[in-house]
Symmetry: C2
Subunit: 152 residues, 2 copies
DNA sequence: TTGATTCAGGACATGCTCATCCTTTACAAA
DNA sequence: TTTGTAAAGGATGAGCATGTCCTGAATCAA
């Protein structure tokens, strides 16, 4: 299961915003620098997240992005439906256009329960839970600094 | 989990060749027509499968592709390591370059067991088993004909 | 030897994702 | 009102996966 960079950036950015104090807009530049992702590209993603009402945006001085009302209850499945498109979880492993219980590829019966586990997992992980995990210090949403990745 | 078209075509073609009588070369054109995939593109994929010794190729009249000695014991994991590249199963859901038991993203601990299930599944599915499933008539590796997909 | 057939392989075209750049619009403080 | 700041949005480009085309090399039959 490999998500598009767009989805990965979206999830990372949303978690980061959720870790920040509610009501204080967070700058796109700050998010991009913190995550180590291209700011101009992230800006486009933030735009679509605003249009999907997961974020609110404010222009000008004191501007930035805030989590929309109750958006911390959003789960990963909802986010991925936006960024990957509907039906991203009911794809056939072999790429068949129609692969269902009635007429299937030879992997279908074993692949389906795994997909179901994935969907359950994505649905139970909310921004709130993920942000808490990051705030605990045990987990991270950014790459390690270069020094830690290339020890001398 | 979405595989590249290249991987999907490779798996489909290998299963198809496995369903055919051993020792009788199968034409690239025949495979492409049967699977409904572009012949020129498939030819490139068949080439790499030959270089990986999953197939043998023969030119000229009576030419075509045969399954290499014992290649019917090949499992999907081995095929995907060739087509998707090594390490395609140990990627982080959020895209982190380093995400291990020691230092991880907040999804790691729940994502890892799912990845392990996927790997086990891919390793137990051999071309032989998949070809038998297709030959039984219960499963298919090609798209339904248009009529069946767009009923009147 | 010639011709037909089939794979090998390079060059090229296309489409999508990822990414950048620049101008416009909105907003707040001075 | 002016100035600085930040998001909105359009245009454009880079890179890779996908797909096409054409020529060459191998093989077999006539």
């Amino acid at each position: 299961m490999i998500l598009s960079r767009t989805s990965q950036y979206a999830i990372q950015a949303l978690i980061y915003v959720t870790t920040r104090p509610r009501g204080e807009p967070v700058l796109n530049r700050e998010i991009a620098e913190h995550l180590g992702v291209p700011a101009a590209y992230l800006a486009k993603i933030m735009q679509t997240l605003c249009r999907s009402h997961l974020l609110d945006s404010f222009r000008g001085r004191l501007g930035g992005f805030c989590l929309h009302e109750n958006a911390e209850k959003t789960d990963l499945m909802q986010i991925l439906l936006l960024t990957e498109g509907a039906g991203f979880t009911d794809t056939c492993l072999l790429g068949l256009k129609v692969c269902s219980d009635e007429t299937a590829c030879p992997m279908h019966s074993r692949w389906k329960p795994i997909k179901e586990k994935v969907v359950l997992l994505l649905k139970e992980q909310t921004l709130e839970k993920l942000a808490l995990a990051v705030q605990s210090g045990k987990y991270r949403i950014t790459d390690l600094p270069h020094a830690a990745m290339n020890p001398p």
